[in-house]
Structure formats: structure tokens, C-alpha cells
């Protein structure tokens, strides 16, 4: 019996020793570990900058393609010439500078903006299915446009984007009033209120459409499917400013954004005012969506899926992750616009149709290969 006891004691002593070594980590070991992990960090940074440079190159190439492809065939060489020549070479240069360039830039902006606003929403609500359209913002915009058409009778005027913007602002303010009040379970009430508002606005829209003339209905339908055809240089300033401001804001608060993923309580213990932070971020995201919806109509799917696709490969709380998400969104949108202009001869497909179709096919493929791969 006593033998057993001493054996037991020895065992305990041994285990204590080893536990002590492990937890207190003698200097040598920790120094070595430190070296190892910072070496890894450097490696990570190199590969990150490599990927970023590659993405920027792809982005510029895509813009170039967007200038070249279209109803009028323009070769890459002509595009290159007209970009650098100052004197008027006529027709081709006008197509590139006045039609295709603003359009490509708007597509880039819209892709970046929607991807970023989707990412913001998914992070602050900790819901990977969150999307700018889930919160009633685009239905608010549609309602604004339909009210304008129903009251003035004119189909598309200068007032259309303004009406869309006002409509989405109204939706946003209503969402704030409902969700901002409740301190606990803010995420849940926000999502539920968003879905409810979205349906409420859609029903009003449908009611109004039911009473307006069929021509207006067609116009509204086309508008809700999204298009970049209204892009002009003088329209681009506002969305550029909004999206760049929001991205800078997001980069500044990237750590707080990732902390939100830990949960409300843990984020609070890191010194974050969770409810206020979430509302500010929701405002930012709504502002982006409202701006883009008013310019290009409803383009679904991008805000939901681009952050997901990027998330398959990297973690998104870093400067690198945020910028990459924005760039991938932009590139995707440029190609969608190219497709919408070239698939049918002499006709333009709505952008929303293509984003949904290509995006979901791509996503399903990705999911399929993910499933067959061990983690």
C-alpha cells in the first residue's frame, strides 16, 4: 500500500514538474518559439503583399478589358493609344473616355462598395448571411423611385437617384429606431426588423405599381435589376467619396470589427461600446448601399457572396483582408458589366441577372470542391 502511495507521489511530482515547465516556459524555449513565430509572420506579410499586387494587376487588366470589349470592337492597341494621346482622334476616343471609362469605374466602385458593406454587416451581426438587401435598404430605394414615378408620371429623370436615396435613408432610419432601442439581443432584433421592413416596403411598392401604367412598371422592373448605363463622369464623384471614406473608416476600426466576432460581451470587455459601434457600422453600410442603389439600381448577391468567397481563403479582420475583399468585389463587377454588354448582340442584359447567375454557379462549384477536400 505504502509503495503504491510513494509511486503515486512520484507520479504527481513528475507531472507537476512537466506542467511547470510547460506553463512557465523557460527562457530558452520561449525565445526559440518567438523566433519561429515572427519568422512566420514575415513570410505571411510577403505572401500578402504578393497577393495584393497580383490582385491590383488583375484589376487594372480587367479595367483595360472593359474599355476594349463592347458593341464597337476596339483593339487593345487602340485603347492604349487613346489613353495616352491628348489630341482628339475622334470616335474611338470618345467611346472610351465618355462611355466606357465612367461605366467601368462605376462598376468597380459598385463592386467594392457592395462587397465592403456586406462584409461590415456580416461582421457586426456575426451572421454570415447578412447582406445590405436583407435590411430593407434596397426595397426602401425601390419604393422611393416608384413613388416618384407614380406622382410625377415621368419615368427617369435627375430626380430618380435622389428619390432612391431618400427611400433608403427612410428605411435605414426606421431600422435604427427599431433596433437601436433594444440594448440586449440587438443583432436578432436588427435582422428581424430588417426582414420585416423589407417586406413592408415591397408590399407598398407592389401596391403602387398595381395602380400605375404598364410602361412605368417595365421601367421600374428594369431599374430594380440593375444597370451601369447611367454612368457619367459628373455622377462618379459622390459614390467615390462615400466608398473611399467608408473603406478608410473600416480600416481604422478593423480591430474592433474583428472583436465583434468574439461576441458582444467579449467585445465589451475590450473597451468597445458594442451597441453604438454596431449602429455606426450599420449606418456606414447603409450609406454605401443607398448611394449605389440610387446610381445603378438593385444589384443583389455581390454583398452576400464576395465576402464569403474571400473568406474561404483568408481571414478578413486585417487591412489586407478588407482591401482584398473590396478589390475582388470590384473585379467581379467589372467582368459582370463586360458580360452584360457583350453576351447579346446590340442589347444589354441587366447586371443583376448576371451577378446572380454567375456568382451562384461559382459559389456552388467552390462549395462542392470544399466539401470534397479534407480541412
Amino acid at each position: 500500500m505504502s509503495k503504491v502511495k510513494t509511486m503515486f507521489k512520484n507520479d504527481i511530482n513528475k507531472s507537476q514538474k512537466s506542467a511547470g515547465q510547460k506553463s512557465l516556459a523557460p527562457k530558452k524555449q520561449s525565445l526559440f518559439a518567438h523566433k519561429k513565430s515572427t519568422a512566420w509572420l514575415e513570410k505571411k506579410q510577403i505572401s500578402h503583399s504578393g497577393v495584393t499586387i497580383l490582385t491590383v494587376i488583375i484589376c487594372i487588366f480587367s479595367l483595360f478589358c472593359a474599355l476594349s470589349f463592347g458593341a464597337a470592337d476596339i483593339s487593345f492597341a487602340d485603347v492604349w493609344h487613346s489613353l495616352w494621346q491628348n489630341e482628339d482622334v475622334g470616335f474611338i476616343q470618345r467611346i472610351i473616355w465618355e462611355l466606357r471609362m465612367p461605366r467601368a469605374i462605376l462598376a468597380l466602385l459598385a463592386g467594392c462598395g457592395l462587397a465592403i458593406s456586406g462584409l461590415i454587416l456580416q461582421m457586426v451581426t456575426r451572421n454570415p448571411l447578412a447582406d445590405p438587401y436583407l435590411f430593407g435598404i434596397s426595397s426602401g430605394a425601390s419604393l422611393g423611385v416608384v413613388i416618384l414615378i407614380a406622382t410625377t408620371g415621368s419615368i427617369f429623370t435627375v430626380m430618380t437617384p435622389i428619390a432612391a436615396f431618400v427611400g433608403s435613408l427612410v428605411a435605414m432610419v426606421m431600422l435604427m429606431l427599431i433596433a437601436g432601442r433594444r440594448q440586449s439581443q440587438q443583432v436578432e432584433s436588427m435582422l428581424l426588423a430588417g426582414v420585416a421592413l423589407s417586406f413592408l416596403f415591397s408590399s407598398f411598392t407592389n401596391l403602387l405599381l398595381y395602380h400605375t401604367d404598364p410602361q412605368a412598371v417595365t421601367a421600374v422592373l428594369f431599374w430594380t435589376m440593375g444597370s451601369f448605363s447611367r454612368a457619367q463622369w459628373e455622377n462618379l464623384l459622390f459614390p467615390t467619396v462615400v466608398i473611399i471614406t467608408c473603406i478608410v473608416f473600416m480600416l481604422a476600426y478593423r480591430r474592433q470589427l474583428s472583436a465583434m466576432l468574439l461576441g458582444d460581451e467579449s467585445a465589451t470587455t475590450l473597451g468597445i461600446n458594442v451597441n453604438r459601434f454596431r449602429i455606426i457600422m450599420l449606418l456606414l453600410s447603409s450609406l454605401i448601399t443607398a448611394t449605389l442603389v440610387s446610381m445603378c439600381g438593385g444589384i443583389g448577391f455581390v454583398g452576400l457572396m464576395i465576402p464569403h468567397i474571400v473568406r474561404f481563403f483568408i481571414s478578413q479582420g486585417t487591412v489586407f483582408g478588407i482591401l482584398l475583399t473590396a478589390l475582388v468585389g470590384g473585379i467581379f463587377m467589372i467582368w459582370v458589366d463586360i458580360l452584360s454588354r457583350t453576351i447579346l448582340v446590340n442589347q444589354e442584359l441587366p447586371v443583376g441577372v448576371i451577378t446572380a447567375a454567375t456568382g451562384s454557379l461559382f459559389f456552388l462549384t467552390l462549395l462542392y470542391f470544399r466539401k470534397n477536400r479534407p480541412n
Partner: protein
């Protein structure tokens, strides 16, 4: 870091002053009184365990301590720069620099790596535009090696085991470089090895720790001081020897148990009697 820790321990041994004091704290949720007139003090460098049956108010009490909920009455004060402040008068960021919290919540769905999670501990110390510099990288690397997760740095947090997740969250708390660590049931869902490992890790940090427990024997072995809550009231407090009595166990937890001395650590050791309700206490002892 390790020299700092040993210094801290030394200092703490000399000046055992109160780091956190709770005076007449009451808190209610929707008119239900959850915490009722609780007062206690936590000494600097001590390890305090909070015990109590499910629904006794352990988590609510901790929430009041880490500023997640505001108490209805009473106050919690924290020694900041040698002065006691009501925690609600301190800046949220200042408080987060001093108090780190490890909770049961874990991030999900978002592919955060272990490194990302640990780096979140920098938040209270960093301005919005400042980048992580070399010193920060070193801090993070050191915290990761302190919890022994060097070879998991790149892994997704989601795919860690329960014990590793807890260790990663503790590493995050270490990066926060706090003077007080609060843990809400840090050992639940963990197997015995990880339970002991996590608690030893927390103890080795050399800072003040407040943790809630379900395993009374673990609490007895680890804590300098125990608080027992029952139905929102502080029933008793003191050293494990003073608190862990068979009367308390039958009154608060409704179990009958025999208390002996742990043969290695000389702390109270609880052996439960199975098949008896607390009323059969005496009978149970006769039976054995």
C-alpha cells in the same frame, strides 16, 4: 516577461491590498432580483473562486465586474493608479487595459486564425490608425508561446479543441496585459487534463484572478479565497478550508459529502455520497 511576473508576485506578496471592492451590489433583470446586496473585496495577487449552483448569479456577478451590466444599487471600485475608482467612472478603454476577461463565447463562421484572435488583445492599447509594431508582434508571440500554441498560430480558431480555444483566449488576455483576469467557468466542457492545465496557466500569470467554478475540488486546490452564492445572495466567503464544509454543501448544493484533506496539497477534498439527499446526511456518514 517572466522576470516581470516574478517581480509582480513579489510586490503582491508585500502589499496585499484590495484591487477590487464590491459594496452592497444589487442587480435585477426585469424586476427579478438576481444579485442581492453583495459585498466583498479581492486582494491584489489573489486567486478568487466564485461557487454556487446553476442560476445562483455567478455569471451576473462577473458581468457587473467587467462592466457588461450596470448594477442597480451599490458600487464596484477598482484600484487604478493606487486610487479606488467606481468602475463606471473609468474610461471603458482604461478599464480594458487593466481587466481582461475570458468568457465562454467563441467566434464562429469567420475563419479567424489563432494569431488574429490573440492579436485582438491589443485593442485597448492601440489607437485607430496605429499599426502593430515589432514590440506588439513580440508580445503576441510571447503570449502564444506562454500558452503553448506555437504550432497552431496559422490554424483557424474554429478547428481548435476546447482546451486549445480556451488557451488561445487566455493568450488574448495576456496580450491585454491586465492586472486582473476574470474568467467565467473557464473549465466547463474541458477534460480533466485541460481543466488542470488551464487553471495552472491562469495561476502562473501572477496576476489577480477571479473565476467561477463548477468543480469544487478544482476550486479548492486553486483558489486562495472562495465566495459562495446562492439565490443571488453571498452565503459565505473565506479560505477553502473555511468555506468548504459539509454543512455548506448540503445547504447550498443539496448534496451530502465528506470533507477530507487532500494528501498532496493539504487543501479540503470533497468526496460525494451518491444516492442520498441532503437530509440523509448523517445517515450517509453512518453508512460509510
Amino acid at each position: 516577461m517572466s522576470t516581470n511576473v516574478s517581480k509582480l508576485v513579489k510586490v503582491n506578496q508585500i502589499t496585499k491590498t484590495a484591487l477590487l471592492t464590491v459594496e452592497h451590489l444589487s442587480w435585477c433583470a426585469d424586476d427579478n432580483l438576481i444579485l442581492d446586496d453583495i459585498s466583498f473585496a479581492v486582494k491584489q495577487g489573489s486567486f478568487t473562486g466564485i461557487l454556487g449552483p446553476n442560476g445562483a448569479g455567478k455569471s451576473s456577478l462577473l458581468r457587473c465586474l467587467y462592466r457588461f451590466v450596470k448594477p442597480k444599487q451599490g458600487k464596484v471600485s477598482f484600484a487604478h493608479h493606487n486610487e479606488h475608482h467606481n468602475i463606471w467612472q473609468l474610461n471603458a478603454n482604461d478599464y480594458a487595459k487593466n481587466v481582461a476577461v475570458v468568457l465562454q463565447e467563441t467566434p464562429s463562421h469567420f475563419n479567424l486564425t489563432v494569431y488574429d484572435v490573440v492579436a485582438l488583445g491589443l485593442i485597448p492599447h492601440k489607437g485607430i490608425f496605429s499599426r502593430a509594431d515589432n514590440a506588439d508582434d513580440e508580445k503576441i508571440a510571447q503570449a502564444i508561446s506562454q500558452v503553448g500554441l506555437e504550432n497552431k498560430v496559422q490554424q483557424s480558431f474554429e478547428h481548435l479543441s476546447g482546451g486549445e480555444k480556451q488557451r488561445a483566449l487566455i493568450a488574448r488576455a495576456i496580450v491585454q496585459s491586465p492586472s486582473l483576469l476574470i474568467m467565467d467557468e473557464p473549465t466547463s466542457h474541458l477534460d480533466v487534463r485541460y481543466q488542470i492545465q488551464i487553471m495552472e496557466l491562469a495561476k502562473s500569470l501572477g496576476i489577480t484572478v477571479i473565476a467561477s467554478f463548477h468543480d469544487l475540488n478544482l476550486a479548492s486546490a486553486m483558489c486562495d479565497n472562495l465566495l459562495v452564492l446562492n439565490q443571488g445572495k453571498l452565503v459565505c466567503q473565506g479560505t477553502p478550508k473555511e468555506v468548504l464544509t459539509s454543512e455548506m454543501l448540503s445547504d447550498v448544493f443539496g448534496v451530502c459529502a465528506h470533507i477530507s484533506e487532500h494528501q498532496q496539497h493539504k487543501v479540503p477534498h470533497i468526496s460525494y455520497y451518491y444516492g442520498y439527499t441532503s437530509g440523509d446526511h448523517e445517515q450517509g456518514e453512518d453508512h460509510v
